[in-house]
Symmetry: D2
Subunit: 312 residues, 4 copies
């Protein structure tokens, strides 16, 4: 395929832009490749694992993830507990703010403002989160004493009422949410306080391993969309590994393979493990997910819509 | 400003996407800020320096740069000589190819294919370039013996006939092209061979320093769009420094400030030098230019068109 | 402090090199700053949390981490389960290999070789790991049915006999190991299989939250050494946040703050949260941990030894 | 080769550390590979091109580069003009300072302090540089009117008297310094002012292309040490390309290949061009040069010294 000069035309749609990116070069080409893999995942009815780190839920991607669950693009979610907490906060009306990367952090601290890159969350959001945890945990505890994490998150999703919530859409669409480090956040602290008073309350992470293991099968086509790194990414590909490897995989990250980290691990490296199949359709895109992911996924959604493969 | 959940709607335009990016988070926010600075540059009639590295001319951005010259968005160009060579090759019909980052480079070498990231250029393109240099240099030499670089590039642009060519559009629209390291490429080799036979043929880089110095003035509003790093970026901001500092600046790069390199230098660092003014409107966006720059600039073009500030 | 010309002298020690780095520039300066913070941590008897990702245990840093536990430099460990698994594998004699970043991954897969950057682990190591898990789990289950993760890891450490093992040294030196996502690896799979046959076997992550929470106190001085990102890093600073903030912190990572990720989050960002104190001694070093960490820590060890603060 | 646990021993030398790095993993392994390539360059009498960007001269690496010229490790230098200026400033006694990456740049500007990452240069240094340029240019002009850049830099080196100066050592040891963009800095400004009064004063960059072209030959073994990216790196490998390709190459940079930039271009990519030979000994190390380069080069110097291959 030839490199082609890119030209702007008035009213250019995202779809048209990505069509051009395929022939521009460097990461724009990889982005267009990722977009095509997204289409194949859906067309071939692959069970699709969408993984993301909590900072993406801090960002406005949260609503997009919820939409993708609703549109049956994402069939299984894996994330970190910060993302769970913040999805709930937002569902309850908390407002996060756009700030600056080079803020005065001591000043922010005095104002009770917590910074995540160029976004901020007020302390109040965490206090309000605390208030809402107790009644939910009471309700869960009444039902049973021992909870697999994804079952617990399902119940929490059922208490929410927000179309843009990941937990809400997941609960509504039978999409399980896995969170292998459920205690690594304010959520963990509240679970701990609750357990102090109810010693027989158990969050069973081992049982949930079975749940993600059986969330797909050897026979089924499988796909992974890993946004950022961390255990979210690893947990999904561990599952596809145990189920014979994924047929499709897209990794998007700012990390590089030179560090030998999970964050920077490429879809090629995944082949050595059998996390993805040798002949899988894969793409690794390097860059900020808040920009890259919408671009590639919008192209896929437009394409799928055109082909009548999207239920709106 | 609040973080806002991003949602896809069918037929989404690039303009609408960037409007949403402003409230998404991380680099999408910085990208939207850059887009707004682009609009201000034009609205306030700033003399705008567009700088880019040669790999961007290898990519399909080349046509976009040409378009921006035609649209009077870019008033001065600074680039490296690889970009000059490849612009001319493309204007003469050479086709560059989209390849892969992890190609077998020894195999490519055997095939006479040169790789630049995931793009490739055949050896033939360099041979053909050689053939066209001699008649042009002869013509130049007939006119005069001593050439400032930008004058020489203007003459070369006049010999081309390609709407998508940077040199062609620059020549047509009185936009000077500066290339402070004119010999760092095949171009340099051909200049050298020519000079061997014509000892009085002189490419005068010192004289061209005056040309870029007087390409704007203290009184004039100035703007810098620096894509990638290298001397292209530095040469433009050296010029704005000597002319009192730029009022607007957007840096887009994959490099980070942690290395202390020019590539990673931020618009903030530029303030310490007076390269941009203390109260300037600036944005530094981190990421692949082939994706970032079209996005931000398209938003600006659509906005400027809407406000009647764009001559189409 | 002036920049000083660096010069090599024959037989230069690491200590002397870092002494010079303080005046070299860019990350060498930050590295020297980190080294000084390491010394202060120990001198002021701060309870020190050492966190690392599993790929660092894949690497030869594993023996260094074990040594730092033995030397009472690291008082609490937080890591991911891959690191636990690989530490045990190595303690049992498995050999990992040095390979190449650009290996043919399909070929590796056929050979049963799993790649992590430029290192590899054979499938056999995982099979042998499986064999040794059952007897250990049986032994644990006999003792009691419900295990906090760190207690379980302590027991595992007691079964090992390898001076270079993190689990061994931790068990021997009363250093707790926290692993907030204990199921995210082969370990999790084996726990799951075991629980299938022993339904009352429980791995209690919530209880372990209490263990890390009380691993230090408000009154105690606290320090964090976070190598790489992920939940290891987050879990430690969540703990220091709940205990009033750390007095000392060093982050080393290849990630950058521009992505808004936990991996790239700086010690400055940590101040907004109260994860580190406003007036804490902090350093953020950007670069590959396998190079950076030994350099900075060796300087500190030599310095501490000189001052008689190190028990050898 | 097996991964080996790293352990600190008191008084560890840099040589011993790098010996261990070979078996640690990730970039430490690549660093050790680079160290071995450095030894081969010297052992096999390869003509060695050392290239660096100007920020490395801002840093304390400047003295090390001078030392490497003296030790006959570097036989040809390619750099940017900022590096030339700052080497001269330092030779004349200017002191640069170690500062902070997150300085208040507007405040620095008010104080007349220019920032380069976490280093700073006072405005006075530039003013003093201006004062010393005129007499030197007068002297040059008296000798002849037309100067190839490397000849001009040789003359400047002869006026200096500082063992730690790159220009001084280069002049003393017959090591040419190439600077393909000689006007891209204060130096260029002063050349311009001088030429305004002496129209027949010519800086001939084309002639200097011949000088670098003939700085080595097809028959000779060639080596490239490229620190950072930019035209310095490109100019050296353009020269080795035209001379049949280098036998040895080490690239050290913080840039990544994903951007398709010259800064991030790997030694593999160089093979497709013939910049390095197909069967060359190469290493690409990712990371901050101020840390990486001394480490790898010190190992090589110690090794060469041991083998009696170093003239001290």
């Amino acid at each position: 395929m030839n490199v082609k000069d890119f030209k702007w035309e008035q009213g250019l749609t995202v779809k048209q832009l990505i069509d051009q990116y395929r022939q521009v070069g460097f990461q724009s080409v990889e982005l267009a490749r990722a977009a095509e893999v997204f289409v194949k995942m859906k067309k071939n009815n692959a069970k699709t694992y969408l993984t993301f780190t909590s900072n993406m839920v801090t960002s406005g991607l949260r609503g997009f993830f919820a939409q993708l669950i609703k549109l049956k693009i994402a069939n299984v979610i894996v994330t970190t507990v910060g993302g769970i907490e913040e999805d709930i906060m937002k569902a309850k009306g908390e407002k996060f703010k756009v700030g600056r990367f080079d803020s005065d952090d001591i000043e922010l601290h005095e104002q009770g403002v917590n910074r995540i890159g160029n976004l901020t969350i007020n302390n109040e959001a965490y206090m309000n989160f605390e208030d809402l945890m107790l009644p939910i945990l009471n309700k869960l505890y009444e039902k049973k004493k021992r909870w697999a994490v994804s079952d617990l998150l399902l119940e929490m999703g059922l208490t929410l009422d927000d179309e843009d919530s990941i937990l809400y859409q997941a609960a509504k669409n039978n999409v399980p949410i896995f969170c292998p480090a459920i205690t690594d956040g304010a959520f963990g602290f509240h679970l701990y306080l609750y357990q102090q008073k109810h010693k027989d309350f158990i969050v069973d992470v081992v049982q949930d391993f079975g749940n993600i293991l059986f969330s797909s099968s050897q026979d089924e086509k499988k796909a992974v969309i890993a946004l950022g790194g961390s255990i979210s990414k690893h947990h999904a590909i561990l599952c596809t590994l145990l189920n014979g490897g994924a047929e499709y995989a897209v990794y998007m990250t700012t990390a590089h393979k030179t560090s030998g980290s999970m964050s920077g691990a490429t879809t090629e490296e995944a082949k050595s493990w059998g996390k993805v199949k040798d002949d899988s359709d894969v793409a690794t895109v390097n860059g900020d997910v808040t920009i890259m992911f919408p671009l590639a996924m919008i192209w896929a959604l437009e394409e799928l819509k055109k082909e009548g493969l999207l239920e709106l």
